[in-house]
Amino acid sequence: MRHPVVLGMLAAIFATTIAAMGQEEPSGGQNAQQQTPNKDMTPEQRAAATRSFLGLGPEPDKAAATRGTQLYQKNCAFCHGPQARGATGPSLITSDEVLNDDHGEKLTPFLKKGRPESGMPAFGTLSPNQLKDIAEFLHLQVEDVANRGTYHVLNILVGNAAKGQAYVTAHCMSCHTTETFAHIGSTFRSPDQLQRDWIWPMRPGDSSLATTATVKTSDGATITGRVTQVSDFRITLVDSAGQTHVIDRAPGVEVEMKDPLAAHQEMIMTLTNDDMHNVTAYLATLK
């Protein structure tokens, strides 16, 4: 039986990230706090943490799985499909035989005998090591499906750069200059980070993007500063001298907030997918 991996430190670190992808949340992160730990993780750490969170089995042996690829395609794919997701035969992703096995100790003898009564031939001519490699290939197929910590976006540069440039010229230049976009294509590690950031820049990296507020207190004083917290009942500001003000929003207290990204928020509510793809394709050319 593929025992769930016991709790690891990574799981705890990853908890807030992965919660964003479980039954309770839609998809990837739904807020900035949940993305932060994700960004600091290597792909391997991300995969391991998700594996632990999901209670998936042990990590597949990738080298063995690679060796098993050709063997699988030659001997098994005709019935079970190239990725073991089923063809004329059933999908093996949720097969009891696969899920009961850790590293071939049960699958190897099973494959050797086959299941002739339901039309699955014996693979007695393959060596035990070859059968084990096939088993690892199957475990990797399960991993690729079930462990969404291993997912990665594909080539998202699907837009038309010329149209993207036209969009930028028409919509962005009332606030920005060409200087804003110079070299932006080489600033990000990946095109999806570029896409996310031009639409909604990360605030912590740029204090000019902080939300500010002017608060009139009940005794008539006015305080202006960068907002670090706001609720129905309290607002916290840091003024230009670096002093923190915690103000109860009692009756008579007036708060006026200003978000420098307000125009971006407005854009997000109506941005079309084509415009998004085109602008990203254009900005990616500005190396």
Binding site: P4, A11, S91, L99, V230
Partner: protein
Amino acid sequence: MRLASGVCAAIATAALAGVAPAVPHVSLDPNAIGKAPISDWTTFNGDYSGRRYSTLTQIGPDNVNQLAQQWVFKITGVGAQRGAPVPVIKCTPLLADGVLYITIPDHVWALDARTRNPLWHYDWVDHGGHLVGQRGVGIWKSTVYFLTPDNWLVALNANTGQELWRKNYADARKQYFSTSAPLIVKNHVIVGVGGDAMDMPGFLDSFDPATGDLQWTWWSTPRKGDPALKTWPDEATSDHGGGMTWMPGTYDPELNLLYWPTGNTNPVFAGQGRPGANLWTEAIVALDLDTGKLKWYFQVSPHDTHDFDNTTAPILFDQVVDGKPQKLLAQAARNGFFVTLDRVTGKYLVVKPYVPLDYSSGLSPQGEPIPIPDKDPTVGGSINIVNASNWPAPAYNPKTGLVYVNSVEGKAIYYLTDDSTKPSGYGGTGTSIGHSQRVLQAIDPLTGNAVWKHTYPNLNNAPTTVGPSILTTASNLLISGDDQKNVIIYSADKGQVLWHHEIGANESGGVITYMLDGKQYILFGAGDSLYAWSLSQ
């Protein structure tokens, strides 16, 4: 009220006689389950209607500023769980005969409601499953029912915590996992299941409360010979089509119908391998309690590709429509549409967005939102809404006639990560974009329009998975909270903030209220602690 003062008198007599209050003994009359909650809270939603409405009026707008914390019970000695660094109470507590039952994944506590002292603690050692949340127990006579992360229905002696029997109903290796609270109706323990990582079909099981014998199973996707198979490319795809049943449903005793919300379709974000509406995922289904047979369905998100789990509570209530009293059902669905149905027939009265959205081109003749294909996840990314609601409970107040929901307005970019013709698992991912805002809404179920809204100011994005549930009372109170540790009480009719108090964590589970020894309590979980409030003496 008469009942409550009677209990009060009994305690006073005991005190006069110098007798210490006895350890409570739980023996719940099955006929009392699901009735309007007064001195007990016997189901996840308090009663079977899903309204989370209390007739109690001791606490009201005039004295709410006298609320004082009576006690706190903090969970200790559990430590980090897989995926949860600290325990978080996401259950709705049950109360019967003076005993409170609370849960987190793998754990149940029985507390003496008068002293908050634990009477017993049950600790389950799981072999798999997610520990993402636990919604609470079910109760019948002197038995408590608990669902484990690895899909065991465990029956416990309500007075001792001793295990009576256990039944496994789903395979954790196939990524089925359980977080729900069983719903007890007559001689049925109704059990739902979660888990969408491996393309398994959802189902609902009914067990005998005395023996644990399986009575019936309803599958969320159709099998061979069922006409609904035409909404799937083939039977194998339907058999891997998802539709989990991970939140408790509601029940109408007169119609003997269960109303259950079904979760997202599988594969989750990659819909190209499953053209069609994909029944009965993403739906509200009406099932016969005694047979599990489908009476009608209403699919809120046909052909879902956004993990729009349709699991927010379907609330049952009656209102006059065109001069006639009508049995209705309303849901503030996770896909951003507010839905009001005739709960006898499943015919729709209202289907209307309650958050800003632009992914639907209109309604089908049956009233189902028609998705725009361009809004499906793509390789290059596709912008759509974040989940507009989730499992935190909504409420309905018969005095105002309004449905209350903590909604979230915001957008995400959804990417297709598996563009093959035969995707599997999630097949995609998403990342939020822009600011997500939580908005408390009071919606008229006959129009779908908000009568009032309260936007919670916050610099941080509103998390859609956690967040306070809602309770409303006959004294015009609406009890909920924000993401900044404030418990907030509003007037139910106008949405005016009447009272707030900052506690140690955000409210994280269901809010309940009850009379105990003549005193009305408000009880809720926040983080690792359970808080009890009532009026100060």
